[in-house]
Amino acid sequence: MPSAEVFSWLRTRFMPHIWCPGCGHGIIMHALIRALVGLKKDKTQTVVASGIGCSSRMAGYIDACTLHSTHGRSLAFATGIKLHKPSLTVVDVMGDGDCSAIGGNHFIHACRRNIDITAIIMNNNIYGMTGGQASPTTPAGAWASTTPYGAIDPPFDICRLAEGAGASYVARTTIANPKQAETFIMNGIKKKGFAVIEVVTHCHTQFGRKNDRRLPLDNYNYFKAVSVPLTKAKTMTPEELAGKLVCGEFVNKDVPEYTEQYDKVIEKAQRR
């Protein structure tokens, strides 16, 4: 059961929520709220921004300064919020479509700028809300309503994308490891810079049903079976890693943060 402190961060008047019974999004929301509680964050100084889709509804359920924006654009809104008021803690919750399809450009540039925002990507490999269309993380060969003969395009690796684009913290876990999700989210929020936490989750309704993972538990067991910790993965061959999901902190580095850099711009402009 969630603690009373966790409950205090929920807008129960928004409930019942729209997620299907057994959806992984609730596990991620719980991990996020536990991280915020653990870090003793103030609701009125915490922003949760989101885009569009099942994942985006999380912003409404959390009692903080919340923005449910447009599809894929949430990081651009969050950038404006953070740059105007750097003292705010800004978390951006996204789906795989938000992050790596329609919002891909905003995502790579937020990584590049290294602005102090924590992006949580709930990757369920599908567009769930619209009825199960393929996303950029749908595995090759998988069924989706728009890939009735199997997906032919290779999927994105969101963590490698974030690493290449310059994020200062990049980590992956699954909903089968909620404690690790909480730790990674906490580390991401603490990191002064752009943090990306990919939490692999499931949509048993739209994806699992047609891809042999019909029940929430099937997905949980699947994640348990394919997850490999990063330390172990380093000792494995590419053949051994095929079909596995490497979990861990891929990047944790200190690089100049955007709003702090902008403060220097202000200093420079005012000295002239």
Binding site: R11, R13, F14, K43, T44, Q45, V47, A49, I52, A59, G60, D63, A64, C65, T66, L67, H68, S69, T70, R73, A76, F77, A78, T79, G80, I81, K82, L83, H84, K85, S87, L88, N105, H106, I108, H109, Y262, V265, I266, K268, A269, Q270, R272
Partner: protein, 377 residues
């Protein structure tokens, strides 16, 4: 003696925004509006404000909506293709009632069209560009001084009505240089959004003032935890599918500008008394039209001049009242006939309304309008 400057329209617009208290700019470079971004990049940090060049036009408007929700007075500027790209998030600012100012320095289209040439082809896009019903406030400056002054007004209206305000400039107005008389910051009227009068536990984010139809606005970070969404909501800001709640929200959104219409609508008129021929023109074309009307008067033709300063709301009642008895109304435009549709609508057949189109990227010469005045006289 007041300070004067010799500025481009785009530079004046940026300085007007700063005078209004603009402290955030997010945008993307595009001709012929880029000078606005360049001035803001230089001037904002001097004043402790923030400038960000975003990854695209969509990000530009998204960033200013975010900044405004966090309490900023925020501006973006664009042109043609960029204005098209901003339409989706413009809708979010309308429904979520976020004050922002968006400038479109018009150029010829469609598509890439004529990046360095002037046009007035975005008039209807400014009114109806984003999907769904909404009230529009849109200014069209016709001089560099007006770029400066209307930027202040645009911010004031955005703050007052909690909604986007558009400035449709055009390439001629944006790039020409004229004298600007700067206003004394201590004597300019500056409007700021109404902040919550109730403590956080009693605050209902979208409960409107019954007189104005505009809700008070908290900022992220000032002690209130509240929800902003693009979904249609009830007064609590929660998504609703309840028909009466939806209707209440939509009617309020659509009527809040109309209730104070006389405070918003602006126009300039000359020689309208007893005018047989009325020329309705806006933006850069207003300049050519005014000259054409004055020349016609010199030749004894009873011509009048009417320039809407607010394209939306359109000053239709004012125009039809002043033009009572006019035989012909001419509407020269740098498009294939957009505002002429609105003029026809307000005259309802009482006068002959005739559009004059110019689509070659040039501005009307006064003689080109003058010829039509003589033809119909």
């Amino acid at each position: 003696m007041p300070d004067v400057a010799f500025w481009q329209g785009n530079t004046a617009l940026a300085h007007g925004a700063l005078l209004a208290g603009c402290n955030f700019y997010g945008g993307y470079p595009i001709t012929p509006s880029t000078e606005i971004a360049e001035v803001m990049a230089e001037e904002l940090p001097k004043r402790g404000g923030k400038f960000i060049q975003m990854e695209d036009e969509i990000g530009g408007i998204a960033s200013i909506i975010g900044a405004s929700i966090a309490g900023a007075k925020a501006l973006t500027a664009t042109s043609g293709p960029g204005f098209s790209l901003k339409q989706e998030n413009l809708g979010l600012a309308y429904i979520a009632e976020v004050p922002i100012v968006v400038v479109d320095v018009m150029r010829g289209g469609p598509s890439t069209g004529l990046p360095t040439k002037t046009a007035q082809q975005d008039v209807m896009q400014a009114r109806w560009g984003t999907h769904g019903d909404h009230a529009t406030i849109c200014y069209a400056p016709s001089s560099v001084q007006e770029c400066y002054d209307l930027a202040v007004k645009a911010f004031n209206m955005a703050e007052r009505f909690r909604q986007p305000v558009l400035i449709l400039s055009d390439e001629v107005v944006g790039h020409m240089r004229e004298k600007v008389t700067m206003r004394d910051p201590g004597r300019v009227e500056i409007v700021n959004r109404v902040r919550p009068s109730l403590p956080p536990e009693k605050f209902t984010p979208y409960e409107a003032n019954p007189r104005t139809g505009v809700p008070e606005m908290a900022s992220f970070g000032d002690g209130y935890s509240w929800h902003v969404t693009g979904l249609t909501t009830n007064d609590w800001g929660f998504p609703t599918n309840n028909a009466p709640e939806i209707e209440k929200k939509m009617l309020r959104l659509l009527s809040k500008v109309d209730r104070a219409r006389s405070d918003v609508v602006e126009y300039e008129a000359e020689s309208m008394d007893g005018a047989d021929i009325v020329v309705v023109a806006y933006g850069s074309v207003g300049r050519s039209a005014l000259r054409a009307v004055r020349d016609a008067r010199k030749r004894g033709i009873p011509a009048g001049f009417f320039r809407p300063v607010t394209l939306w709301p359109f000053p239709g009642e004012e125009l039809t009242k002043m033009a009572l008895g006019a035989k012909t109304v001419l509407v020269p435009e740098l498009n294939c006939g957009q505002m002429v549709l609105e003029v026809e609508r307000v005259f309802r057949g009482r006068s002959e309304v005739r559009g004059i189109s110019l689509l070659n990227g040039e501005l009307f010469k006064p003689s080109e309008i003058g010829r039509v005045i003589e033809e119909v006289a």
